[in-house]
Symmetry: C2
Subunit: 387 residues, 2 copies
């Protein structure tokens, strides 16, 4: 297997992008990434696109061919593959792209993620998102997507003494980070009181515990590491790439306070990279709800199970802390166009490793990690990146 | 790259399977394939699932995790990846599975295809299928999916003298083949008159020129060729596996009577396999409409451009002809659960290569080919199989 490196990244502004179609968003991010990689479109060998539900959101499937087309690559009839794993679709696209390059099948490969969610009503969007859970065994009997995470939160509170204020602090921190991120959907500070006073969605989760509905796209360009420096001076190596699954429905899980898919994917990625969790300098984790960030830092192995809430409260995951988490603002405040999120996480970590993260730059970043979850943990994807 | 072989295949009956859910269908095909491969579920390393639009048809995304779950494999948290390329989703799943085994990443891998289409109204299904075409540039301005193929048919008729009776003969032949196939949706012979008298859908395509809406699933099990005979006595080698893209919208194409994605994918697969089109003994090609089978046998290189209609008329592609095409009954008569079709094609060719195709068995089959198209040709996938 060949070593794989990232030579270019691009991301649109996330938010309500009513003036841009799905294809516009991908093209916008793609042009930035291709420029950043110092390549031209004609050099691209293959495309992998992560998208959750363009069929529901914009009435369009066949997303692989669509993206090859709007990127001007269909004239060369290159292989273009859409993958889907709900909110982990972006991470999965990168993982498939890594396999394609590592195996020697392709050299210069694009991994893209995109979602255009705001063209439908909030109700339609919520129903489309519920398709990430188990429709027959969860949604049909009344569970909404926030309700599933609310159950995890409740058990975590009871078992480990985690408080809602600690969850709210995740939102406060991530909104603070987003204020320093030009692509973020929200540039507004939040207080714990703001979160607590916001409308209840599914007890104990308030509206400010939830990530928003967003439009956006992100693109990375990868090549074999041996070729990387012929394109750019600061390539970023992908030293770990892993994927885990779990039952779709919560009731079949071993433990509601752990996402085993994350545990498995993280363990495998750390083994591939031959590093330990404490060596990671900065991480983007999947905070679709505030409780999800607490679960993530535990399940990845950054802190012991049950300590996630305390660690957030102590500021360890803040920009100035020992392990800054979600410097982009996370899904919570940077926005969560579901198919794009996994690639946007990689975009942020690449900026951090290059020292290009502006006001939110972490000092002396050598190793970064991304963690992308599908649904309530049916899929998890972990990537580890180094300079 | 390692050589890859098929050790097991399974397929459900296609049709209106109102008693079975999407997960039931995959489980049904999976059990047959796993038995056929002489493995147990615990030996499976990874899953790739082709599905076009479960989000629209049954309100469920996150199909990779769902299938791992219903196959009882999520306890081991194995990697499970859904891919989508409209009607070529099944073929694409096999291609990704082949890459995963050929590269050495995984040993025992499942490629599955599934679609559950009959739970929605015909109108909803037609709209979901239109998502394979270019929603913004074709559907919004009034093109239906049959209308796109009707335009190709009209130009083929004008340019090459192809007649509608020749197209109807594709339907007649494929219905005849399906009568001998226990899994086929239709077991009814058609005459040319039946086709001509059936309601017009998009001139010149009548309803019997169109493939139906169907439920079904198909599964294949692949391993490195060097391991294959440790499981079964009659493995089938995959000697060519290729994928091509094209513009989604027809108006951007070089030529409306050729699917360049097919031309590119077939050429690449033949090069990999080091064989010529005339060496193929039996083929399953993508006859979503009767004209599509005529285009396919030309674009794959079996006959010269413009000769497809004549070749069908002469019976060359009939079961008793020199190159039997769509012995399963094709999409037209075996049925077309879109995500399953690409895998069902492989199922049929494997039966033919093993001599297990019953009444529709072709004599002395050494080499078979499958050809799976997404939409109106935005994607094409070609596999070449040998004993």
């Amino acid at each position: 297997m060949r070593s794989v490196s990232i030579i270019g990244v691009g991301c649109t502004k996330f938010g309500e992008r009513w003036e841009s179609s799905l294809r516009d968003l991908v093209a916008e991010a793609g042009v930035i990434a291709i420029d950043d990689a110092c390549i031209v479109g004609e050099q691209i060998d293959a495309l992998f696109v992560g998208n959750m539900s363009a069929g529901r959101f914009v009435g369009q499937e066949h997303i692989g061919a669509l993206i090859a087309d709007c990127a001007g690559l269909s004239r060369r009839h290159i292989a273009s593959t859409r993958v889907e794993a709900a909110c982990a679709s972006g991470g999965l696209a990168l993982r498939q792209a890594v396999l394609a390059v590592a195996s020697g099948y392709h050299d210069i490969v694009i991994a893209a993620g995109v979602e255009k969610m705001t063209d439908v009503s909030a109700g339609t969007a919520a129903d489309a998102l519920a398709a990430a859970a188990d429709r027959e065994w969860e949604c049909f009997v009344g569970a909404t997507f926030p309700a599933l995470y609310a159950m995890m939160a409740r058990l975590h509170m009871r078992r480990y003494g985690t408080t809602h204020d600690q969850m709210a602090m995740v939102a406060v921190k991530n909104h603070h980070h987003a204020c320093m991120n030009p692509i973020a959907q929200y540039h507004a500070e939040l207080s714990i009181e703001d979160v607590n006073r916001s409308p209840m969605v599914a007890d104990p989760l308030h509206v400010f515990d939830c990530s928003p509905i967003s439009d956006g796209a992100a693109v990375v360009v990868i090549v074999p590491t041996e070729m990387a420096r012929s394109f750019v001076d600061t390539p970023v190596r992908i030293v770990g790439s892993s994927q885990g699954s779990d039952t779709l429905a919560l009731h079949d899980r071993r433990d509601l306070t752990t996402l085993d898919s994350t545990v498995i994917a993280a363990r495998s990625a750390f083994r591939q990279a031959d590093i330990e969790p404490w060596q990671v300098d900065v991480a983007e984790v999947h905070d679709c709800f505030t409780i999800a960030e607490i679960l993530a830092i535990e399940d990845i192995g950054f802190v012991e199970k049950g300590q996630g809430g305390r660690v957030v409260e102590e500021g360890i995951t803040a920009l100035s802390g020992e392990l800054p988490v979600n410097t982009s603002g996370g899904l919570k405040a940077c926005g969560h166009p579901v198919g794009a999120t996994g690639i946007k996480q990689v975009y942020e970590i690449v900026l951090q490793l290059r020292g290009e993260a502006g006001q939110r730059q972490v000092d002396e970043v050598e190793i970064g990690l991304t963690h992308n979850v599908g649904g309530s943990g049916g899929t998890a994807i972990v990537h580890i990146l180094t300079r």
